[in-house]
């Protein structure tokens, strides 16, 4: 069971959270202007990174808030948590 650091509540066990998929997916302000392929990619294609992945979590059985996290999908280590709306943080020695 992962230990996840909610930016509002601190370290809480995984069962208090629901997963929110990839982070920083931008829903176009005017989807009507997008072609079908671009819209389909937005709906269905995900980076699925092996390594550092930016994703969302929601503290559904706690404060109820969404937040973002950088997690290494190969080790499950959380490298950063940050609030909704904040930019993806750059990690030491690595790229954002």
């Amino acid at each position: 069971m992962l230990l996840i650091a909610c930016p509002y509540c601190g370290n809480r066990p995984e069962i208090e959270f629901s997963y929110g998929g990839e982070a920083h997916l931008v829903r176009a302000a005017n989807p009507a202007l997008l072609d079908d392929q671009t819209w389909t990619d937005f709906l269905y294609m995900r980076s699925n990174t092996k390594g550092v992945y930016a994703e969302r979590w929601r503290h559904v059985r706690g404060c109820g808030r969404f937040f973002n996290a950088l997690r290494d999908t190969t080790t499950d280590h959380f490298l950063a948590v940050y609030k909704t709306g904040e930019p993806r943080p750059a990690l030491d020695g690595g790229d954002a």
Binding site: M1, L3, L43, V60, F66, T75
Partner: protein, 1005 residues
């Protein structure tokens, strides 16, 4: 007990125990395991192997035991198969029996498999049992099922209780042998909170089987005792015996399995049988030791052939001599002391065959002085014996050849191929293993968690070194968790091995199959005892083209039994590497999985059983309905009354009566389970506009609208009536099952997509009781009970909402109908629900009011062609498919799902569309889910154009009705289609889904 030494061992000779194995009575002592007690009685044959049904004996003295799997039966319900006899603690009255044999262990019919073994090599089932095809169901499968497996599962429910506990600590020490105890002492000294666990009944690990070693000037086991006492007196230390750390999960979350009562003759009724600990540790020290490796040679699996270290443990820990005439075959030094110990106990040691060409001179000398012949450059060419080994054929290795040398009679053959560090938990933690050339084994490399291995499990083999390593690990563990903690100074231990031959070099060993004669023996050389995998199987896999260890493992099943290859993995790897002619580390190792040793289902279930398995959600009228004999159905976690049968009625009759009553007079229905969400704020309407397909800005206060929610993929996700209570307040209803999903989706958009909107959301599902009053008499029933609301048709038209009071309590009244009749939904605060229900029911009796359940509700709405999301839709249905494009707010620039609905495939005319179906003459009620074809008499593969989503008998109409999704359905009105069923095709006519009162006159009454 002919094989019990007159003295020695850690057993309690003052407590004699009686036990039964395979119907035969024996005696043992407190402190015995089932294995040691059987050996004390000279019993070696305890099992039949998995595939070949070969007679098998006890190979080891611990958790790594692959052969001696037994069933312990306290009673019919407390019947546990597949236990390792080496870990079953003996108690008075224990009853156990062997497995996988019929009719008996000595005479097992299954041994036929051994004779036919040429037909059962690895992977045989991929190449057989294919012809004839019919034989599979009638012959092959039943026979294979009966033959498969080892023990039998109990047939009664588990009556025991299992506890669970969470714990946090600074340092968790897994394993309490010398390294673990040293680590615990060091960690505890600094004041850290420490948990120490060990799978055995007492701490001590390898020291329990060794004899005569001294630590810091005292007997090793006395040192253990003193250490345990010191740890016990520390309030910040928890000591757990009989507790296996079975799983290492991310973020230092470790699962411990504690066995509490299984070793007791009469378990106290108030105690749970076992306890599952879920520990979050700041730092973990793995001190899990090393497991002795067997040697691979022809005929290495007969009863009486066991590991040398195990024989030593049986002697020193249990006071049991494993045989009278012993031969030892070894590739490392440790077995020399075993030979000496056995000689001293009175056994004849006929020979000590050393695989190496130059055994250490001092060890060989000590052996010869004790009268033991030492034979270097040995290999084993084969063994003889049926139910017990009776002789061994040694070979002499020289000049690249193996020459047949000696045949020596024996009743026990001990083997030692070296020690493999136990890296299971380290591997589970996703640490990277590293190959150690000098040790010729995998050891922990880079850690993935805050964890450190100590002692033999990382290749530090000598006792003194293990103690020092453990102490360092313990101190390290604390330092990493508590900055500024007092770091204990480097600990030094004085170890005196008392001239015992152990420790000289524990790093020697042998990997793979021993050198073979030419031509090689036809006898089987076992690598994995529990799955009956031989060296030949591994070479076969290699010949058949399997190169990756993942493939070889799965093809041969080596390492896949319940022992997870504890005694076989490295030998298997070596044989495969040799076959492929690559170095061992290049072949690689498969990942170890939890549990380290089997854990009961009960432990994982814990308290989540029976009534505590899932919460039960009940509606306000539940008690009332139950008292009226309602039959309930589960909708998610909710219990909903499905129908209310009266005397002599089945469901069909009850539902027919309920439906007629609703349409004819009045019905009462509990709709409280539906989801309710309040959307509140200055931007509430804008929020709803962006989310739902409908347009909400124009909805007046006091009015409601049927809303549809899609996801951005354009498919219907949920639906429900949405009322505008105030300019900035919407009361949104959802389906019963969809409430959590819809709220989650709303929050997602509110928090992460449109955080600028001034709106917030509150779930009010549990806060409002919703009582539906439906039927031509509905108004007559409610009028006398309601205050402050004009219920007339003019004042409260269909889809209007008003506030008032009913029977004196606050009321939010909706004029809505899911039945197609004049209808109202009475919303009162949930605490008043039951009382208001009863008041309405009482008032309704004068008007023919009848209570109805979800089944009647389904029929009534189907007669009106109303969809149920999740039944008539399946996540691939658009609003237009469902005939609901009228609900789309056409002037809205965007809403969730709009962009997807513009895709050409979403507008195609041949999409599956929502229609009604009437069966032709004969009137069969169609089966929900039945497929639909355009032509009759098709044979598979059929061309199918849709399926039946809802189907009922309509008592109002007098014939069966169905709703369906049919390709291009709306263009097929009046067409004849066919529903192919096993009994033949059923003819149906495509109709409008609105069967009853198509103009809607009744609902507007």
């Amino acid at each position: 007990m002919n094989y019990r030494c007159p003295e020695g061992g850690r057993i309690d000779r003052s407590r004699l125990l009686r036990f039964v194995f395979d119907g035969q009575s024996y005696e043992g002592y407190a402190g015995d395991t089932l294995a040691s007690a059987l050996l004390a009685n000279g019993v070696h044959l305890v099992a039949r192997s998995f595939k070949y049904h070969r007679p098998r004996g006890i190979l080891t003295a611990g958790a790594e035991e692959p052969n001696a799997l037994v069933t312990v039966a306290r009673d019919a319900a407390r019947y546990t198969p597949n236990l390792r006899a080496t870990q079953v603690e003996l108690y008075d009255g224990l009853v156990a029996h062997s497995q996988n044999r019929w009719p008996s262990l000595k005479h097992d019919v299954g041994r036929l498999n051994d004779a036919l073994s040429a037909f059962f090599p690895a992977g045989f089932y991929y190449k057989t049992f294919m012809w004839p095809r019919k034989a599979w169901k009638l012959l092959y499968e039943p026979v294979i099922r009966r033959a498969a497996g080892l023990g039998l599962a109990p047939t009664e429910a588990d009556p025991d209780r299992y506890a669970q506990r969470y714990a946090h600590c600074d340092v968790l020490v897994a394993g309490a042998g010398p390294a673990g105890i040293a680590a615990a002492l060091a960690a505890a000294e600094s004041g850290a909170r420490v948990i120490v666990c060990d799978e055995q009944t007492e701490f001590g690990g390898s020291l329990l089987g060794d004899g005569g070693v001294r630590i810091d000037g005292e007997d090793a086991l006395h040192w253990v005792q003193q250490s345990v006492a010191a740890l016990k007196s520390n309030p910040r230390v928890s000591l757990l015996t009989r507790t296996t750390a079975f799983g290492y999960f991310p973020h230092n979350f470790v699962g411990l399995h504690e066995r509490i009562t299984d070793h007791l003759a009469v378990p106290p009724a108030h105690q749970p049988r076992e306890r599952l600990w879920q520990v979050r540790a700041g730092s973990v020290v793995l001190a899990t030791g090393a497991i002795e490796r067997p040697l691979v040679f022809p005929g290495n699996d007969r009863p009486g052939i066991m590991l040398a270290g195990a024989a030593q443990t049986y002697l020193n820990r249990f006071g049991v001599r494993v045989g009278d005439r012993v031969v030892v075959v070894t590739a490392c030094d440790a077995a020399y002391q075993v030979a000496l110990d056995l000689r001293a106990s009175g056994a004849a040691v006929a020979a000590l065959a050393d695989v190496r060409s130059a055994p250490p001179a001092d060890l060989a000398e000590a052996a010869r002085r004790a009268g033991i012949e030492v034979i270097p450059r040995s290999s084993v060419l084969g063994t003889e014996g049926g139910l017990r080994v009776r002789s061994v054929r040694l070979g002499e290795v020289g000049d690249g050849l193996v020459r047949a040398a000696r045949r020596i009679e024996c009743d026990t053959l001990l083997m030692s191929g070296g020690y493999t560090p136990s890296v299971h938990l380290f591997s589970q933690s996703r640490g990277k293993l590293a190959w150690s050339e000098p040790l010729q084994s995998f050891v922990p490399g880079r850690s993935a968690e805050c964890e450190r291995s100590a002692g033999a499990c990382r290749g530090v083999m000598g006792l003194a070194q293990a103690l020092i390593d453990g102490a360092a690990a313990g101190a390290d563990a604390v330092r990493r968790r508590t900055a500024g903690a007092h770091a204990s100074s480097r600990r030094v231990f004085v170890v005196d091995t008392m001239a015992r031959a152990a420790g000289a070099s524990l790093v020697d060993g042998y990997l793979g199959a021993l050198p073979e004669a030419n031509p090689p023996s036809a006898e089987k050389s076992f690598v994995d005892w529990q799955h009956d995998v031989t060296a030949r199987d591994l070479r076969l896999a290699s010949r058949e083209g399997f190169r990756s260890i993942e493939h070889v493992k799965r093809y041969t099943t080596t390492g896949m039994a319940t022992d997870q290859g504890k005694t076989s993995n490295l030998n298997a790897l070596a044989i495969i590497a040799q076959s492929l002619d690559v170095p061992i580390p290049e072949v690689g190792l498969t990942t170890f999985r939890m549990p380290y040793t089997p854990v009961t289902f009960g432990s994982f279930a814990g308290f989540s059983r029976g009534d505590l398995f899932d919460p039960k959600r009940t509606a306000p009228s539940h008690e009332w309905a139950a008292s009226r004999g309602a039959v309930f159905e589960n909708v998610g976690l909710w219990k909903r009354a499905r129908y209310f049968p009266r005397a002599g009625e089945d469901m069909h009759a009850a539902v027919a009566r309920e439906c007629l009553a609703v349409r004819g007079a009045c019905g009462l229905f509990d709709a409280s389970t539906l989801g309710k969400i309040e959307v509140v704020g200055a931007d509430a309407a804008e929020f709803m506009n962006r989310l739902y397909i409908n347009s909400w800005s124009g909805l007046a206060v006091g009015r409601a609208r049927y809303g549809i929610l899609c996801r951005d993929d354009g498919f219907v996700y949920d639906d429900g009536v949405v009322a505008r209570i105030a300019a900035d307040r919407f009361h949104v209803t959802t389906t019963t099952g969809g409430a959590p999903r819809v709220l989650a989706m709303m929050e997602d958009f509110r928090q992460t997509e449109w955080p600028d909107l001034k709106v917030w959301l509150t779930s009010t599902t549990e806060q409002w009781a919703v009582i539906a009053v439906q039927g031509p008499n509905a108004r007559r029933v409610l009028e006398p009970l309601i205050q402050d609301i004009d219920l007339s048709a003019a004042a409260l038209p269909h889809m209007a909402v008003a506030r008032g009071r009913i029977c004196g309590v606050p009321l939010l009244l909706f004029r809505v109908s899911f039945t197609g009749e004049l209808g109202f939904e009475v919303n009162v605060p949930a605490d008043y629900g039951a009382a208001v229900w009863e008041e309405i029911y009482a008032a309704g009796q004068a008007h023919g009011m009848v209570e109805y359940g979800t089944e009647a509700m389904h029929v009534l709405r189907a007669e009106k062609g109303y969809i149920i999301v999740g039944q008539d839709t399946d996540g691939t249905v658009t609003p237009d498919d469902a005939g609901l494009s009228w609900a789309v707010g056409k002037t809205k620039a965007d809403f969730v799902g709009k962009r997807s609905l513009e895709r050409p495939s979403m507008k195609a005319q041949d999409r599956k569309q929502f229609v009604g179906l009437r069966t032709r003459a004969g009137g069969a009620v169609l089966e929900e889910g039945a497929q639909i074809a355009a032509t009759a008499g098709q044979r598979p593969p059929m061309q199918l154009i849709g399926h039946v989503t809802s189907s009922y008998y309509s008592s109002a109409l007098g014939y069966p009705i169905a709703l369906a999704l049919v390709a291009g359905g709306r263009a097929r009105m009046g067409q004849t289609l066919y529903v192919p069923m096993p009994g033949g095709d059923i003819e149906v006519e495509v109709t409008s889904p609105v069967f009853y009162d198509p103009t809607g006159a009744r609902i507007n009454g």
